[in-house]
């Protein structure tokens, strides 16, 4: 990492004059993180002493901060790491910890808790946060009179129970007697800026509270970032794109190979790659026309000035609705209907389903809305994450993706999933796909190459398992591998079939069970296969197998229930014991889920 701290570029008037400031900058730029840390303490110490002290102690006693994260995809974990890193540069002693591993007893000990937690599905916390969530929101929640805390909630504003898990933690810790350092911040998919601000405010507040210790003025500016970001993605050339489903399929799934050479993007099998999408030009055009605005009109965006058309194409989300947009637009439109919807979560969710920004604009036209006013209502276009379907060991400098273009018709118009159709329809081979890596998921192969793994996936959820097997093949990992795969029809939808069969023939894939829901009258899913194989499955678990589940939310839920059933039936355990058994798999890091 070259620069841990991004220093302010302008003079923080009126503290220093320009000459002093540049002198300081030149000095600070040349320091390593450790040197900077020492220097910050030294400078702070000078303030207290009033005189130059050649060998002042940098920090008398560091304040401890625990950054707890509950993360499904790795975003929260990555953010937590950045917050901790930032805190350390400010002289704090900071520790990051997965909520999964956070023990009840520590709740009473830790004085400064920063929580970063995402929300999934119907307002649920991530798997790894469920137990802590249950503890602090439950009847046995410990009293936390001496605890200072702050919550950064991650979510997606297009869901009705946006950031619910974060809200729950925030309220529960306050109810238990904890003191908020700062107000909770709810981040939409474009979390980076809000998260950066929250970090600075929290650390600033903690800094103020440091008793008898040198105080460091929180240097504004974002925490350290990976080289490629949503705003500065790497353009990965599209090497190859081919269909995976056969002609006549009711599904359409594609295999993409991206060239990461030169990006220095480092990922591991199980990670996701984020794609910075852009909206379909026809939709942008239709929206500009419906707004009676000039596509060339300049608007200020968080990344600088753009034409309205450019901004709508690549900066703002227009294919999905969010409550904040509806609220803002309702105000502009002075529409009672929209205002009413904005306060009715259930009704709003239903209403937003199948509508996009163009629908709202068409149904509730507003006279005299400026391009800037309109742009300010919109949510920043978030990146879309795809599980990487290749192992960097097998395909160095490449990332393979498994993409199902999302298309549907609603209200008389064809609708598109913005990233998926961009990847499938609007890019051609050789084009650069804007990508970046957004933290590392917990979805990883076991460190022990001998540990058996059970991979359960439906549809494109099979992608990371391709990476897993590639990796275990390259490494010659002796652990047994079992794949459960589900899709609609055997003859058309068996994604990567030849590869699985080859691995099976080679002995790498020890067991292969498939379920195709539409090949027979009664629908059959992977969870049905789990139940059929209960005895063997339980035996594998007893032998220490790690479990992976990847696929749609609903499938994840059904599989979870089936697993409890499997453990109950094959292990002869009552329901509560079976459930505890499966929960324990999570705690021991043997049950990984990537559901979306």
């Amino acid at each position: 990492m070259s620069a841990v701290v991004e220093l302010p570029r302008r003079v923080p008037a009126p503290v220093l004059d320009e000459g002093q400031f540049h002198e300081l900058r030149r000095f600070a730029d040349a320091l390593s993180p450790e040197q900077l840390l020492w220097a910050s303490g030294y400078l702070a110490g000078l303030q207290g002493a009033g005189v130059a002290a050649p060998a002042a102690e940098p920090v008398a006693e560091a304040v401890r901060i625990v950054v707890l994260y509950g993360s499904q995809t790795g975003t929260g974990a990555a953010l937590a790491e950045r917050v901790a890193e930032r805190a350390r540069t400010l002289g704090f002693e900071a520790e990051t910890l997965d909520m999964l591993r956070y023990r009840r007893a520590r709740l009473r000990e830790d004085r400064n808790l920063l929580l970063i937690v995402s929300t999934h599905g119907d307002g649920d916390p991530p798997d790894s946060a469920q137990e802590l969530h249950a503890l602090v929101t439950g009847a046995k929640a410990p009293k936390l009179a001496d605890t200072h805390f702050a919550v950064l909630a991650l979510g997606d504003a297009s869901y009705p129970r946006f950031c619910q898990a974060g809200k729950d933690f925030d309220e529960a810790l306050a109810a238990a007697g904890g003191t908020r350092l700062v107000e909770r911040v709810d981040c939409d998919l474009d979390y980076e800026e809000a998260a950066g601000q929250w970090t600075e405010r929290v650390l600033g507040k903690l800094n103020e509270q440091r008793p008898d210790t040198p105080r460091v003025a929180a240097v504004p500016g974002a925490a350290a970032r990976p080289a490629w970001t949503r705003h500065k993605p790497f353009a990965a050339p599209l090497l190859e794109r081919l269909p995976l489903t056969a002609e006549g399929s009711s599904r359409e799934v594609w295999h993409l190979e991206l060239d990461l050479a030169g990006s220095e993007i480092e990922f591991a099998s199980g990670d996701s790659l984020s794609i910075v999408p852009s909206n379909p030009p026809e939709l942008v055009e239709a929206l500009v026309e419906r707004l009676s605005l000039d596509g060339d009109a300049a608007v200020a965006t968080p990344q600088g000035e753009r034409t309205l058309a450019e901004a709508l194409a690549s900066r703002y989300e227009i294919t999905r609705l969010t409550r904040p947009f509806v609220e803002r637009y309702a105000a502009a439109a002075e529409s009672d209907q929209l205002r009413g919807l904005a306060v009715d979560a259930e009704g709003l969710a239903k209403w937003m389903d199948g509508r996009d920004v163009l629908d709202v604009v068409a149904e509730h036209p507003v006279q005299g809305l400026s391009a800037q006013d309109f742009a300010d209502m919109l949510r920043v276009l978030p990146a879309r994450r795809y599980s990487i379907a290749s192992s960097p060991l097998a395909y160095p400098d490449e990332a393979h993706l498994t993409v199902a273009p999302v298309r549907w018709a609603s209200r008389g118009r064809d609708r598109f999933g913005v990233a998926s159709t961009q990847l499938i329809e609007r890019l051609t081979e050789g084009d650069g796909v804007p990508v970046f890596l957004e933290g590392h998921a917990a979805f990883r192969l076991p460190e022990d190459p001998e540990r058996p793994i059970i991979m359960i996936g439906a549809g494109t959820g099979v992608a990371p398992y391709r990476a897993f097997l590639q990796e275990r093949e390259v490494l010659g990992a002796p652990g047994r591998n079992w794949l459960f795969f589900g899709d609609r029809n055997f003859r058309t939808d068996f994604l990567y079939q030849r590869e699985w069969l080859q691995w099976r023939d080679d002995g790498l894939l020890t067991q292969l069970d498939v379920a195709f829901s539409r090949d027979q009258q009664d629908k059959v899913y992977v969870q049905d296969r789990l139940r059929e194989r209960a005895a063997d499955l339980y035996a594998w678990l007893e032998e220490g197998a790690a479990l992976y589940v990847c696929g749609a939310e609903r499938m994840g839920h059904d599989v979870h229930q089936a697993l409890i059933g499997v453990v109950g039936a094959a292990g002869g355990l009552p329901a509560d014991k079976a459930e505890a058994y499966v929960e324990d798999l999570k705690h021991t890091g043997r049950y990984h889920r990537d559901v979306y």
């Binding site: 055997f490 003859r491 994604l495 079939q497 030849r498």
Partner: protein, 564 residues
């Protein structure tokens, strides 16, 4: 046969198959593949089933990381090619429910279905069982379907000869109950059955038997491992001339392979038929080449042992000597179409079935729904011919008007409107289902016929009775080496041209050109047709004409001549 060479892998599979069971039950239960285990692809042949894949989509599926579109062909065991109306309708239903919606009448008096997916095999075979049909040993290294002259209006012997076909077929059935276990959920046996006739490894290669009734050689008796030529004396069946060692298969690259017409080795009485059959089958069982499958057919065994030695072996095994060959004469290997009235007041109708293929929605073929109607109107016996045509036998005078109405309504009686070249032509299945195909065959035939009709018309030869047979590879399923004009596929769009068989199918033709495209084919035939139109003798066939004028060059293969 003693040999230093190791046994072929198929011999290992047969030995390990526990009476043709293999691991088929497990294979059928594999959900992640549409195929059966590699070894089971050999075992399943003995159950009348081939594993194939749709070659039209093979490359594209490979690109999409999908396995080939595996599917299966199932072929009936149907001695003498006789069916009743109920059975036909069940087959039709089965083709629609499980297959590709079409029936194929084969060149050996059977019916085969294509496009059966693995999970549909069992239900399909159970449906067959309900109408007393099966596919036992319709493929594999074992006696195949026993065929018999289908032409009921040529001889009073027909019923009797058909009876012998049934008896031979029954005599050579495997004892294994594997078929019942695997497909019909029969009780598994504890110990695999003995196969007193075949032994554990069955035969070295496929074995085909035909019964002919002169003057019709519709069964192509000379293309068979074992043949019986019915001899009629004073209106009764005196016995059979016995033929051995016929076979079509060869390969383009293995020069030790060749088509061979059968030798006539003597005469036996009807009572001796089963003994002769068993003697020939077991002589081949014990002397056939089990190392090199390309040398395993009886024709090679005979050429290796010498015909005299082989016949002596057969006579030793049967316990009696064959009598001298009796006179017999064939005039055609083709079918005669249309109605024939019989003395008992019934009639029969021989119907031309283009390509042997019956399917709805493809105008070049007869519609399956139309034939279903026809079969319902008739309600009686059906016979399949070895030229892939269909005979309605014993049509009562009461049913005939209705049958004729259906013929009219669906325009099923094509023979009068087609040239003799068309109605006599045969083509094998080839692409997209046959794994051996090198060139199109069945799908190419309609276009080829159009070109040849036009060429013949240039010389006023379009009503000429010319036999044309096309195959997509040299293995010879449509018996192309016994046609006056035979095309044998080499590569997409390229065929070897063979000319000069006689109309009775007793003389092999001669390869005159290799790897011709259609233009080359027509250019080669044009001057020959021109001379044929000018210089032929009265009633002389094209193949005989080419031989008389010695137009085929010196490469002419073994010439057997018509039995006299």
């Amino acid at each position: 046969m003693s040999t230093d060479k190791p046994l072929s892998d198929v011999e290992r599979i047969k030995t390990a198959s526990r009476g043709l069971r293999g691991s088929l039950i497990e294979s059928l239960n594999l959900r992640h593949t549409g195929a059966v285990h590699a070894d089971d692809t050999q075992v399943i042949k003995f159950h009348g089933i081939y594993q194939q894949d749709d070659r039209d989509v093979r490359a594209e599926r490979q690109r999409r990381k999908l396995e080939p579109q595996y599917q299966f062909m199932a072929r009936l065991r149907l001695p003498g090619g006789v069916l009743d109306a109920t059975q036909w309708l069940a087959l039709s239903q089965l083709a629609r429910a499980y297959g590709d919606g079409s029936l194929r009448i084969t060149s050996r008096q059977s019916i085969q279905f294509h496009g059966l997916f693995k999970e549909n095999l069992k239900p399909a075979l159970q449906d067959l069982d309900r109408v007393l049909l099966d596919t036992i040993s319709a493929c594999g290294d074992i006696n195949r379907n026993v065929i018999a002259c289908a032409n009921p209006n040529r001889s009073l012997l027909h019923g009797e000869v058909y009876g012998w076909a049934q008896r031979i077929a029954a005599h050579l059935m495997p004892r294994s109950r594997a078929y019942h276990e695997i497909w019909l959920d029969g009780e598994p046996v504890v110990q695999p059955e003995d196969e007193p006739l075949y032994g554990k490894t069955y035969l070295p290669r496929k074995f085909k038997i035909a019964l002919a009734i002169p003057p019709s050689n519709d069964v192509d008796v000379f293309a068979h491992d074992l043949g019986f030529v019915a001899i009629e004396e004073e209106g009764r069946l005196a016995g059979f001339n016995v033929t051995v060692g016929g076979g079509m298969g060869r390969s383009h690259t293995n020069l030790a392979t060749y088509p061979r017409v059968a030798d006539v080795i003597g005469f036996c009485t009807p009572e001796q038929v089963l003994a002769v059959t068993e003697a020939v089958v077991t002589a081949q069982r014990d002397n056939g080449d089990r190392s090199d499958r390309a040398q395993a057919r009886l024709k090679y065994t005979i050429d290796r042992m010498g015909l005299d030695v082989f016949v002596a072996e057969v006579e030793r095994r049967s316990g009696f000597d064959l009598a001298p060959t009796r006179p017999a004469r064939f005039d055609t290997s083709g079918d005669e179409f249309g109605w024939v009235d019989h003395a008992d007041g019934t009639a029969s109708l021989a119907l031309y079935v283009p390509g042997g293929r019956v399917v709805d929605g493809q105008p070049e073929y007869l519609p399956l729904s139309g034939l279903d109607e026809l079969v319902r109107a008739h309600g009686g016996e059906l016979r399949l011919t070895c030229n892939q045509n269909l005979v309605l036998a014993g049509v009562s005078s009461a049913a005939r008007p209705q049958v004729e109405a259906v013929l009219e309504r669906f325009e099923l009686d094509l023979a009068p409107r087609r040239t003799p070249l068309e109605t006599g032509a045969m083509a094998c299945v080839a692409f997209p289902t046959c794994p051996l195909a090198m060139a199109e065959s069945e799908r190419y035939l309609p276009a080829l016929l159009q070109s040849l009709n036009a060429l013949l018309a240039e010389f006023d030869l379009e009503r000429e009775n010319l036999s044309l047979r096309v195959t997509g590879c040299p293995n010879g399923c449509a018996r192309p080496y016994l046609a006056e004009i035979g095309l044998v596929g080499r590569a997409p769009g390229l065929y070897d041209l063979h000319l000069g068989s006689d109309r009775a199918g007793a003389r092999l033709n001669t390869r005159v050109r290799e790897s011709l495209d259609e233009a080359g084919l027509l250019d080669t035939l044009r001057p020959l047709f021109a001379r044929f139109a000018q210089e032929r003798a009265d009633g002389e066939g094209f193949g005989d004409f080419l031989h008389r004028l010695d137009l085929l060059g010196a490469t002419s293969t073994s010439e057997q001549g018509v039995i006299a």
